[in-house]
């Protein structure tokens, strides 16, 4: 994670950009049992801010992208759990290990999101590992 300040957003922009992380944080909590919820919520927020300033769009995009990895991992976990409940599949070491790994990644995501929301609210630019790099590639001024 990188912290620098190439932008000088005003207070309104900082608040909006910070809200994108808070939105995704809320969506993670709500969407844990049904992972698609967090992606839909973040997409709606992203679309709502398409015409906002570069700083706001940049952080909305990063918040959206960071949801996708958790979405994939959580969806696999959910489908595996449902198959155990409704088919002859049983709980195995691999399943338990996978779910622990997913929980760890979710917690990491939550911590990173809270941190990003705080920093962005103060007008500081936060660039996540990988997601920040991709955001720079796709988010145009």
């Amino acid at each position: 994670m990188e912290l620098n300040t190439p932008f000088s957003p005003d207070d309104h922009e900082s608040e909006k950009a910070s809200n994108s992380y808070l939105m995704s944080l809320l969506a993670i909590m709500v969407g844990m049992p049904l992972p698609i919820v967090n992606l839909i919520a973040t997409i709606i927020f992203y679309l709502g801010n398409r015409k906002a300033s570069y700083f706001v769009r940049w952080h909305c995009t990063q918040a959206l992208l960071s949801q996708i990895s958790v979405l994939i991992a959580n969806s696999v976990g959910l489908s595996w759990t449902l198959r155990i409940i409704f088919t002859e599949l049983t709980v195995t070491n691999n399943y338990i290990a996978y779910m622990i790994t997913v929980v760890i990644f979710n917690i990491t995501e939550i911590i990173a999101t809270i941190f990003a929301a705080q920093q962005v609210r103060k007008g500081r630019h936060v660039k996540f590992w990988f997601f920040g790099t991709v955001t720079e590639l796709i988010c145009r001024k």
Binding site: N93, N94, A97, W129
Partner: protein, 261 residues
């Protein structure tokens, strides 16, 4: 772009590594069996098999072996069960019986093969016993009926011949509990469906047993290990109806010759 791909690979690798490391922890192995390891289970299975071999002759090169091995291969291959994971042995005994031993061993008596009117019936009984193995019912039953301490004594080599024989008798002549029998029936239906073998053979077999339940001769020992056969036969048919499939009829000379006789 290269930087993004590199970072993505690092994240995926970190996820897979974390998953791999956690999967090395035996979360499920110690749940019910109080630390009885796979190696100890295998050793117990070998001791019980040795005891069985002392009282009965094992059949290794007979047409029956070809039949049962072929059915086992069909079931295991279709269900992605590792080849050789289930060790099948046939013993010369006119008792109608089949049972699972610890260490993933499936024991079949020649009496059972003779009693089955179709290969599907035999495949049904075999799938039922494989289900007991897959669901780890064998060790759970032994722990419940013999006690974990006694099993440790036997594995340590301190159990007398009589004790091992008694444990063998427990595993070969007493039923699993009702829930485990039902679970094994349903699981057997799924195993057979995947192998394209008609699961109604298991239902037919159990129904026939229920009709002959007044016959308490020693040869029909399987009745004592498969109680409530009529109800289970109906439950199996209900399960089959849930997933109508096309099956391949099994043909073996063993039954063809018998029908000619």
């Amino acid at each position: 772009m290269k930087k993004a791909i590199f970072q993505l690979l690092i994240i995926v690798a970190a996820f897979l590594l974390t998953w791999f490391l956690f999967s090395k922890i035996n979360f499920t192995g110690h749940m019910d069996l109080d630390g009885f390891s796979t190696a100890q289970e295998k050793k117990l299975g070998e001791l019980l098999l040795e005891s069985l071999s002392q009282s009965k002759d094992e059949i290794k090169h007979d047409s029956i072996n070809q039949v049962v091995n072929n059915i086992l291969e069909k079931i295991t291959t279709a269900n992605k069960i590792e080849k050789g994971a289930i060790r099948l042995r046939v013993f010369d005994d006119q008792t109608v019986n089949a049972f699972a031993l610890p260490g993933d061993q499936l024991i079949i008596f020649t009496g059972l093969v003779d009693y089955c009117k179709t290969p599907e019936e035999l495949a049904g009984v075999m799938a039922h016993e494989i289900a007991h193995i897959q669901k780890d019912h064998v060790m759970k039953k032994l722990v419940k009926e013999v006690g974990i301490s006694m099993l440790f004594v036997i594995v340590a080599g301190n159990g007398s011949f009589e004790i091992v024989s008694e444990v063998l008798k427990t595993i070969s002549s007493r039923a699993f509990d009702r829930d485990q029998e039902s679970e094994a029936d349903i699981y057997a239906v799924h195993l057979l469906e995947k192998a394209k073998i008609n699961p109604s053979g298991l239902s037919d077999f159990l129904f026939r047993l229920s009709q002959e339940s007044d016959d308490l001769s020693d040869e029909l020992l399987i009745i004592s290990t498969h109680p409530g056969s009529a109800d289970r036969s109906v439950a199996i048919l209900d399960e089959i109806k849930k997933n109508p499939s096309k099956y391949k009829e099994l043909h073996y000379d063993f039954w063809e010759h018998r029908s000619e006789d």
